[in-house]
Symmetry: C2
Subunit: 194 residues, 2 copies
């Protein structure tokens, strides 16, 4: 295993001022239109009209509709809260992993993953970053409690990865029992780090 | 774990006759055009002209360019040979997994994954099926040699899944050392099946 982190722990600065307000209006227009009609019927001109901008503003900033959809999807994936504190490391991990499984294997979760993965690499990195940050937060809370912990990368490889592989590629979605069994195997393996 | 296989082991019947020849001509046109110009510049009319069909033939069969690209990508992912016979189960697994890692993390491999994952579920299922069939073939050869083996699903969860997660989401691609280390952990775990 390498010693540098697989996923950079910091995201870039968020845009501010007028361009941020324009971006927010366009994101909001996409979310509204997605709630009203099938995703296949979405067009750049329709988003522009709803947001009160010209289509060229969208093409200039995002290139095409796919990139815009990926941007909106990854913004929706940004966690809104720190992971639930259940009082123990194993409990925190299981609660967060079950919630993540539930969200990602839902219809809207799959559509977001499709948008993010279809568009390219910057957004997939952000998606992994959010996941890593939540696992890091669980790790730090457990360390503060004095519990022995796993490396975040081990949880990514051992639980998050098979969960996502099944969601993306397999005919059967992963269950909470699968998640619990992958986590058990990991916690029982003789590879704990702190 | 469930007792039904995660990935169906059989693909549907392949189309025959005239429609198969039309499909082959259109696939070939896509591959030629992808070799000549950037993927973003590809259009349905250009593919139609090259293949000698009308654009409506393409729209009727595939719906849109994304579905056609996904179809071509998944056809390219179809394995051309049985996995190399190195003389042992561990050797066969390692050789195939390293080759798969090499192919999937390459530029063309990532582009294919993007096309397949961006388009929807039928093609992702085929992608997983090809992988499962190759692992099954390695499994059966080892069983015929009398070697103890892992369940194919354990190799998918323990090695293929973290490999694909890193290729799709992480900043750093997986290395052959990662693959060997995931496989070692799996072979040492007390969960062998036959």
């Amino acid at each position: 295993m390498s010693t540098t982190p697989l996923i950079p722990r910091t995201a870039g600065p968020r845009p501010g001022g007028r361009s941020a307000r324009v971006q927010a209006a366009i994101h909001q227009a996409v979310r509204e239109l997605l709630a009203e009609a099938p995703r296949d019927s979405l067009t750049v001109p329709a988003v522009a009209t709803r947001a009160g901008v010209t289509p060229s503003t969208i093409y200039r900033r995002w290139g095409d509709l796919g990139q815009l959809l990926a941007d909106v999807a990854v913004e929706t994936l940004r966690p809104e809260a720190t992971p639930e504190d259940t009082g123990s490391y194993q409990g925190d991990l299981l609660a967060w992993l079950e919630q993540y499984r539930d969200e990602m294997s839902s219809g809207p979760g799959r559509a977001m993953l499709r948008d993010v993965l279809g568009a390219g690499t910057e957004n997939t990195g952000k998606c992994a970053l959010y996941c890593t940050q939540q696992l890091d937060a669980i790790h730090e809370r457990a360390a503060a409690r004095g519990e022995s912990t796993l490396a975040t990368e081990a949880v990514l490889d051992g639980v998050v990865a098979p969960m996502m592989y099944r969601i993306l590629f397999a005919a059967q979605a992963p269950t909470n029992e699968d998640v619990a069994s992958w986590l058990d195997a990991l916690l029982q393996a003789p590879r704990h780090s702190t």
